[in-house]
Symmetry: C2
Subunit: 331 residues, 2 copies
Amino acid sequence: MRAREVRLKSRPVGTPAPENFEIAEVEVPAPGPGAALVRNLWMSVDPYMRGRMYDRKSYVPPFQIGEALQGGAVGQVVESNDPSLKPGDLVQSMLGWREAFTAPAASLEKLPESNAPPQAYLGVLGMPGLTAYAGLLEIGQPKAGETVFVSGGAGAVGSVVAQIAKIKGCRVVASVGAEEKAQWLKSLGVDAVVNYKNGGLLAAVQAAAPNGIDVYFDNVGGEHLEVALELANPFARFVECGMISQYNNTEPAPGPRNLIYVVGKSIKMQGFIVIQFQHLRGQFLKDMTGWINEGRLKWEETVEHGVENAPAAFLKLFSGANTGKMLVKLA
Amino acid sequence: MRAREVRLKSRPVGTPAPENFEIAEVEVPAPGPGAALVRNLWMSVDPYMRGRMYDRKSYVPPFQIGEALQGGAVGQVVESNDPSLKPGDLVQSMLGWREAFTAPAASLEKLPESNAPPQAYLGVLGMPGLTAYAGLLEIGQPKAGETVFVSGGAGAVGSVVAQIAKIKGCRVVASVGAEEKAQWLKSLGVDAVVNYKNGGLLAAVQAAAPNGIDVYFDNVGGEHLEVALELANPFARFVECGMISQYNNTEPAPGPRNLIYVVGKSIKMQGFIVIQFQHLRGQFLKDMTGWINEGRLKWEETVEHGVENAPAAFLKLFSGANTGKMLVKLA
């Protein structure tokens, strides 16, 4: 079988551009013993992938130039040479950015029986959902009545954070970069939504969080982090999930001018990787499925079509073009 | 009884100066029912007092202009009108910066029976000691074999951190600003001492911590914090005790340019106030007394004499003139 894949052509300097990627067609081998051939239905693009485009030591190895990129995907088994999988099975893998692949069955995870659509396992029921759930509950430890501020509130992670914080009885303030995103979050019950593109972020968040901030879920960094430090209450928890405003910096940017509040306000600021919370996955799926079935947790998808448009989908993450989970439909 | 006290004459802008303080003589009233008159023997000057000289909301109220400053002190009861205290008793209070005072007996704490000198309860067995002990063990959670980096390593807090980390089986790297401080720490068994005044802090700490940093105990902030972020291992713990390099800033200084490592390296960075660890005081005194008696924990004092020299002693904290605990002997 022939299939197309997206390769890293060159390492981006600053904001990634289409010329950093190239499409190639390859022959997908028939599966040997213990392996399966999978056609991808959906693939995920996520901000963290920008980090893997740098050639540096990190918690995941860097992408290699000339090789296919990797990332979350769900697909359907076409041919299997392993008793654990049969044609038609839906499986999850880290072999996105390609239309099809052959891999050991042991490296594939069958999707659970569910009435959720398969691509939900790349979003609300997948890595971004667990990131939101575990980061907020384990590090943020929100208590009913506290104020939770989440930046990037309409993204795949942020929108789940906002809704779980509401379920936990918190006042929720979210920041977004577009009015339609603000409308969506308000329709979900978020108490106050601030459009950071309107300027005056500090005053706007201060007005939206009159009792100060107890939990800050950071997807953005930069000015958002400085504002959160300014408005933090004593013993606030800062869940450091991401700093998308900084990912494409060509020079290191100065940190917040008020970081000293970490001392004076006894703030806990903690980064994490979702892998450290894998042990929560059972409870996560149970809770999330329950909330979804009760109509208390909703999600949006922004969908591009075809593997050739995967780079464009990825680039759109940095201009905030997505509402909810950014996905590429491959078949 | 007449006694002198030190008052805040004006709020410092930038580095405090002698003219921000004034000495006054007051009449100390005879103790009414339930009160005692105490002559202070020793008073403490600590970097955190700089924060109380700003007129701003914080975890302790600001000092008021024209009023006596406050801080840790040990003294001897001269006259008591309460059955719990008798003349000659040694007591600890927050009524430093004065030669004598009258206060409710309930606000005074009798020093425990001990063969430690009374001023040790302002240092190694007092607030700075508990700050070091609880910050390192509760937030830093050092494990044997890990590397602990402590800035301000020859100070009242830092020198206790360094020694407890050694007792816990860690490799300890300390920074200081003078060669004689480095010699002292080496004599205590600290593995490597870096003099930050020699420049090249990053390279020096990197050479001293070839396996990276697992725990950073921050007393300094600024460049030290940036270096620690650069050299931090995944899941490092940053104990944010103080940022003395920033306390006299007249303009907010930019934060570390590499703060994004908190995300990428899953760092926990946590500020605290010693009051939150009061419940550990019994265990702290037991452990510390044991280590002192075994000769495993030592301390230094830098002593000024007379209440009129208390401002000078305080100012010397910011030029690093003290080795170990800075104290003022009052009687």
